[in-house]
């Protein structure tokens, strides 16, 4: 805060990271790489929360705790998603998104 780095710097960084994640989410076909893009998105949101906490409300730790809970939710999400991917791989022998609509039946 004593230096020239302002909240806008962090928000621009996290916006760029978020949209890189969205790009990966849109273009990838492999389920695991889609999962990696989701992780990028969650991580960029964490940077945002922490920057808000640091620059706008330094007396509360709200953003800090939200970032912690986002990390916990990301961990659970990854574990469940990988369980689904592995059981899908047993059935279909491949993990591209085109084949996943077979899960409906």
């Amino acid at each position: 805060m004593e230096s020239g780095v302002s909240i806008q710097h962090f928000m621009v960084l996290s916006t760029l990271m978020f949209f890189i994640g969205v790009y990966g989410f849109l273009t990838r076909k492999n389920l695991i790489t889609i999962l990696l893009s989701v992780e990028l998105i969650l991580n960029s949101v964490n940077i945002n929360f922490v920057a808000f906490n640091k620059f706008l409300y330094p007396e509360n730790l709200g953003g800090h705790f939200f970032a912690m809970f986002v990390i916990a939710v990301a961990a659970t999400e990854v574990s469940v998603a990988i369980a689904i991917i592995i059981s899908l791989y047993r059935k279909l022998k491949m993990i591209d998104v085109e084949n996943v609509n077979e899960m409906k039946y």
Partner: protein
């Protein structure tokens, strides 16, 4: 946090983010994601959130990336390259992403954030622990407990999903 440190860290993060979504070797994408997470951890350290940086290192870099690498090894042939994306798909995705990014960044740069400089950030371990278990104002005991139930549900759910159907 000095400006140089910020620019070095954010350049590191952005380069490896782009590599994460464009690399065609699947194991490398996971390793690039690991570098992105390490760079984010550096940003937390530079902002004086030491505990959050440690959580980021252990949970994200230590836990999630290892799980992802294991599942890559279980489900993919590491020699294979991912198939190239069609040009149309790249074009329209880039278009959507660029429009979104321009809208968001212009909003951010035009918005006037209030400057709070008189209060100091207290992110010591003691404050974090007290806040996490307090049920007064500014306490986070309810989400803390809900997260524990969520973790239990996720453990049971992933065991149920991933076990073989014929093994009951």
């Amino acid at each position: 946090m000095s400006e140089t440190v910020f620019y070095i860290l954010s350049g590191f993060i952005l380069v490896f983010s782009i590599l994460t979504v464009t690399s065609r070797k699947i194991l490398r994408t996971a390793v690039y994601l690991l570098f992105v997470l390490l760079g984010t951890c550096g940003i937390y350290f530079a902002m004086d959130f030491n505990f959050l940086a440690a959580v980021q290192l252990t949970v994200y870099a230590g836990g999630i990336v290892v799980i992802i690498i294991f599942s890559i090894m279980l489900t993919s042939d590491l020699q294979d390259k991912l198939e190239a994306v069609q040009f149309r798909k790249i074009f329209f995705s880039l278009l959507a992403v660029l429009i979104g990014a321009v809208v968001c960044i212009s909003t951010i740069l035009n918005h006037n954030f209030p400057q709070v400089t008189d209060k100091v950030l207290d992110s010591s371990m003691r404050t974090i622990g007290l806040r996490l278990l307090s049920y007064n104002e500014g306490g986070f005991v309810l989400p803390f407990e809900i997260i524990s139930i969520l973790l239990l549900a996720a453990i049971i759910g992933s065991i149920m999903i991933a076990k073989r159907a014929d093994s009951k």
